[in-house]
């Protein structure tokens, strides 16, 4: 069963799993980092992710092009983000409550429109075979990397640069830091937040497209296992830092791959327990980040979950 490489199969399977599983985390958390850096929190990402998965799949089925599907998902996510951002600009509206409503709304809408697409098969996103040099089939399988993964890593570095070296990035940080300061500078905080929430929504929906168009690669109502929500915890864990998001996504991805990896090396008992690893990790991240004294270090001051 292990094909002659024995226990080596475990880290290899985990590596492959981490790359596969982390991609949606990466996109959702990068988007949410930008949203939260503007001082808003969007808990609706789970719903946006599910809707993104559905719309990507549906458009891919219709057009035969998976990349058109990804673009459609990004567009739908941006629209959901705009809805969140627009509602939240009214006084006394709580962004957390709107986020929860949006989560239910997005999933519900996705199930409604997605019914006819459960059966047909959509073309998958292409993968790059980075493991062609190796003769070990497990390693080759692990290094089948989808193009979205390197795209996400690149996006993280672009975001880090943008937050530091562009006018838009500084404006985003000012808005997240203090509405007062933004007003004094003539920056329209609501507009910046609207843009940031749109971006966050688009990224979350691309994460969803990855789920339905690559891994697991089908559309059904259980497509998400809470990645949209866990990504919010992941952002806190990553201290609102795009590069931190890459590391945290790989860690969460690796934890998510633990269960299947154990199974692949022939462990038949108790691996179910390890399926819970990402959730335990989420819990751990939340507890660690709310420990008194260091709570919210690095958190945007305008964020309602801040200290």
């Amino acid at each position: 069963m292990t094909g002659g490489i024995g226990w080596w199969g475990l880290p290899i399977a985990m590596l492959g799993g981490a790359i596969r599983v982390s991609t949606p985390f990466l996109f959702v958390s990068l988007g949410e980092t930008v949203t939260e850096r503007s001082g808003r929190i969007n808990l609706g990402l789970e719903g946006i992710l599910v809707f993104g998965a559905m719309s990507a799949y549906a458009v891919a089925v219709r057009t035969g092009s998976p990349w058109t599907g990804v673009a459609a998902a990004a567009l739908s996510g941006a629209l959901f983000g705009a809805l969140h951002g627009w509602i939240c600009k009214f006084p006394k509206v709580n962004d957390v409550a709107i986020g929860i409503a949006l989560m239910l709304f997005g999933s519900g809408l996705a199930f409604f429109f997605g019914k006819p697409y459960i059966q047909p098969a959509a073309p998958h996103l292409p993968a790059m075979s980075l493991g062609a040099w190796s003769s070990i089939p497990q390693l080759r399988a692990a290094l089948e990397v989808n193009a979205l993964f390197p795209a996400g890593i690149a996006a993280a570095f672009v975001l880090r640069w943008a937050l530091r070296d562009t006018r838009a990035g500084l404006a985003l940080r000012v808005v997240g830091d203090s509405s007062e300061a933004a007003r004094a500078l003539g920056i329209d905080a609501d507009r910046v937040r609207l843009a940031a929430t749109c971006f966050g929504g688009a990224m979350a929906a691309v994460g969803g497209a990855y789920l339905s168009l690559y891994y697991p690669g089908s559309w059904n109502e259980n497509i998400s296992s809470g990645q949209g929500l866990m990504a919010v915890a992941l952002v806190i864990f990553a201290r609102w830092n795009p590069i931190g998001c890459v590391a945290a996504s790989l860690l969460f991805g690796g934890a998510g791959a633990l269960g299947p990896a154990l199974q692949s090396v022939g462990i038949t008992h108790g691996y179910y327990l390890f399926y819970a690893a990402p959730y335990v990790l989420t819990l751990g991240a939340m507890i660690a980040s709310s420990a008194p004294g260091r709570a919210g270090a690095g958190a945007p001051a305008e964020l309602s979950i801040g200290t």
């Binding site: 070296d165 562009t166 500084l170 940080r173 000012v174 830091d177 500078l185 690095g298 001051a301």
Partner: protein, 506 residues
Amino acid sequence: MSAGARAAEVEAIGMSMRFGRFVALDDVSIKVAAGSFHALLGENGAGKSTLVKCIMGYQRPSAGQLLVDGREAAIGDPRDAAALGLGMVYQHFTVAPSLTAAENLAIARRDAPGILDWAAERARLADFMARMPFKLPLDLPTRALSAGERQKLEILKQLYLGRRFLVLDEPTSVLTPDEADEALGLVRALTREGSLTALMITHKFDEVSSFADEVTVLRRGRRVGSGKASELARDELARMMMGDQPLARPDDRAPVGGGAVLEVLGAEAPDRTGTKTIRIDDVAVREGEIVGVAGVSGNGQREFLEILAGQRALSAGEIRVRGAPYRATRAEMRRMAVRFLPEEPLRNACAPRMSVMENLAFRTFDVDAGGRRRFLLDRAAIRERARVLVERFGVKAPSLDAPISTLSGGNVQRAALARELDGDVALLIVANPCFGLDFSAVAEVRARIVRARNRGAAVLLVSEDLDELLELSDSIVVMRDGAIVHRTPAADADVHEIGRHMAGAE
């Protein structure tokens, strides 16, 4: 950027501002000469902010004319003012705390490019800073700067933007005296060298006499006086500000004589860092006596107050009120008539979004006239009680149903004091009661405290203002490092000796 630009001359002629029948500003003219440091003095509500808002374009005056450098200027909104080189520094900070000073300055520029070239940006900043009379760390997040440095950064930001005329709206209200001196010293240096004109809103006489060249005094929307700051004495300025309206004067003091009301015996508790211990060996306050607690802030006064308020558990010792052990429960406070007025009452003694009426009822809403606990509220009685208190203490509130957070600082303090002094008071614990209040409110609050004392209340007054302690107290104790290190009767207290004990240099 034009930090070398000449200072602007700004003149407002016949400015008036009416809101319906209410006249906020009545035909006020003011001329701020180029390169001068002009103080605008007045009580809260005298029209200082309205005048400044009209100059800066935040409000459109009902009548009046504005001249900048002798030419008529039409200012419709703050952007027009900025284009003419007029800028404003607010009471609170407007720099983003997690950005560095350099980032704050870079983003403040109107013409900041989409992609920042940090090398060019730094060269520009270095060039600008070289012309400034002081240095500031540019690469630390501004939250790491002291309040004084942040206020200086605010001023720098305005200069970096090429402002030639600056309005400073009570710029020192969040600064310590030393920081205030630094920030205002910077402004004065810039006006002296002729690159800036400053108009400072204030109600602190010291700032006027030590920094300003000229002063204009407003009262009830009218200009009531002006002149050279060096030629106007303090009393004269005070009289202009207050008009004929008499300041509340404290009653003559009744002699102290009575039993101990509050006794603190060997009380020990950990401080807020948890690393040190607060130990108050023996403090007693008698009937009709004010005991002042002096000390540099952060020497355990806050913990001492928390102990007395029941917010911090004792690890040893005890607190007694009239000989009985006291643990600051609501029942004990009521039975023993203990009242508490913490500092910043809006934050620490009020529910900001609840109404004035409800806030005034916090001590009494849950019992009926006979002192029994009740289930349903008697809203009519609560309203009547609030009406009486508001009238008796002169609280200016738009209505009894307005959220208490809409009141000015002085009126919140009056309302809190009204609640705490209502009925019999055996023990009153007060902390920094005059923080941020204007002249007449300070006098009134102090007179009320003395009156409570004369009626037989024991008063423990914790304050960072030594003048206040000397004026009000019968005896003074000094706290340092969480312990009482010095006691003296107030009558023959030596300020310098108290200062030495506060600083720890006996």
